[in-house]
Symmetry: C2
Amino acid sequence: MQLEIITIGEELLLGFTIDTNAAHLARALAPLGVRVVRRATVSDDAGAIAGAVSEALDRTGAVITTGGLGPTSDDATKPAIAGLFGRALLLDDAILRGIEDRFRQFGYRGQMPPGNRQQALIPEGAEVLLNAHGTAPGIWLEDDRGRWVAMLPGVPREMRGMLRDELLPRIEARTAERPTVVLSRTLRTTGIGESALAERLGDLSREVDGLPLAYLPGWEGADLRLTVSDQTAATATRMLDDASAKLRQVVGEHIYGEGDDDLAAVVLERCRRRGLTIAVAESCTGGLLGVRLTDIAGSSDVFVGGVVAYADMSKTELAGVPAALISQHGAVSDEVARALAHGIRQRLGAAIGVGITGIAGPGGATAEKPVGLVWTSVAAGDTERSFSRTYLGDRREVRQRAVQGALEAIRRMVVALD
Amino acid sequence: MQLEIITIGEELLLGFTIDTNAAHLARALAPLGVRVVRRATVSDDAGAIAGAVSEALDRTGAVITTGGLGPTSDDATKPAIAGLFGRALLLDDAILRGIEDRFRQFGYRGQMPPGNRQQALIPEGAEVLLNAHGTAPGIWLEDDRGRWVAMLPGVPREMRGMLRDELLPRIEARTAERPTVVLSRTLRTTGIGESALAERLGDLSREVDGLPLAYLPGWEGADLRLTVSDQTAATATRMLDDASAKLRQVVGEHIYGEGDDDLAAVVLERCRRRGLTIAVAESCTGGLLGVRLTDIAGSSDVFVGGVVAYADMSKTELAGVPAALISQHGAVSDEVARALAHGIRQRLGAAIGVGITGIAGPGGATAEKPVGLVWTSVAAGDTERSFSRTYLGDRREVRQRAVQGALEAIRRMVVALD
């Protein structure tokens, strides 16, 4: 099945809101074998909406819209599309009562604003898509030739809930007899560049068993994505299993996960299994390693705590780095990174200590120490690893890459213990 | 001037990449009085590209595309649009030499990949838009009726540089004789809800001097945006000045900045002016307050350092919180927040100490202490302020809101010192 997505809203056109709904829809539809062939964004103007929906219906016969279902006069989606289908808007008493209940439930006293009454208007012959997270119901409208438009709200949380609970099951029922899918699998690597990966992959660098291989570089590392099209779900899964096994054989230790796996979560899980705890002492990353680890719920059984040793005196005061070491080697040095790792490990009695010190930029560089230079040290048991890298990018990216590099160093050290 | 934006790429349609280019373009064009009236996204297929560009040209006569200018066979933008304009692709020797130079400069030894040669093909009669950040040049193609397409690369950094340096000046030259603009101004508030803001604004809650007022709530707070359309730049600016002065009068102390102002940057600047330093002791936020402050270049003259006192023993070890206080009141309590703020302030000799302790969720709640409950304490001189809030949202959002709340508390304390 092919369909088009139309996102509606002046906010999107003006660029004040980034359109994340379209990407979410595309990813949710792919496993059902539904392919998004075009996306468009138009304003809240009824004419523009009707025009775009009409063109899209002519091309694919299937359209999902988001936005323009709210209670304000800007919200023109329903009347525009009802008009296109030649349907009147009728007040649905059950929906009206539901909206009124919701207002009472949230402690709203007094009269419901008249705009919300408008949300209970439903095009003749339409099916209602329930909204578990807001007042605006969604609409499924279909003509006698089987062409359909599904109207979802623009608020991402409402849209996602309605998509999952109401729309995907309907689409799945329609595609059941056409069971080919597009499936992807992503292997996540870090600590190795895109070109080094391609070199290492050799014959597999462009495709694996006929499946095209895409390289997706970013600050987290380079992701490798395999895609299979026009197969049944079972065949596609088997083909992805086989092809990714081949990639794993060649790329090996550089792969830390699949799909959306987060390196911090991988590190926490590996440490948890071995009963290892982590303490960190960060300078240039300002607490970002702590944030990455504590972004994961349940991190407290592994992550003990840390210090943000930003000023030199705080390196001494918080992590016990001798002031003489700093003045002798400079704050950004192998010696200080090691002293940070050992100092915080000892102070908090953790199994693993991590020290990070570097120059995030844009200022602070010297002739010998460029922007992006970061020393990282990981200490665990009798083992210690310390290294420097010069990370590319702006301040934010240097910090993100430095933290990812530190997480990878922890992962490798724990893997080596296995 | 009206125009349409077409973003090109399978990655965008599949939803693997979020389209940020379209929003950036719209925001950059608005101050020139250029209005984006429609956006579309199509795949790398030449037929789809030519179809979408042709329809858009029929509607507005002006189109910007992003993507599909790279060196791989996926990159079909140039041939598709050259075909639409009936122009041949010719090899441009100067551009070819530039690309070869760039390869050498980045230490590439051996033959340049043949795909990069393709980037030096330019449609007959086109103008080249220089790319300061990559190999793919952009293209400006115009027909004899004055209809034009500007093709920009898809990589955001390259696109943004080329837009600023090459495309905006060209568009500005064309719009000089049609000088009406759409301008917006955003006032940023925090620590006050959307409905409380509207109540406070009263008669001004929907529009100010005829300018519509939009409420944009998020974890940073609620932004208030005024928009003026179809005026000259000078009139629009004056109208925005007048209307925002009225808003400021009513909303007052809740406004911390305008536009993209970051609360952390505002806090740093206020502290810098008074020579105040900050030290932080964070528990549930895991280092995020440190990250927010150190995201700003030059923060080291205000931010001394901090601790991530995650486990209870680290609160004692790193910030000197008495263990008895924790066992008596619990780690999430007014007393512990105060002890964190005082402890870190004393240890690092800072002017301002901040303590944060709470339950970010999803686990960890008790009957008395729900998920989202956060105690924050700010201590400066003889002044101390401690408060609890129950922040809404998931783990990430609770942490973001808690840090924003702490920054706002610092800002108010420093403002009170003035």
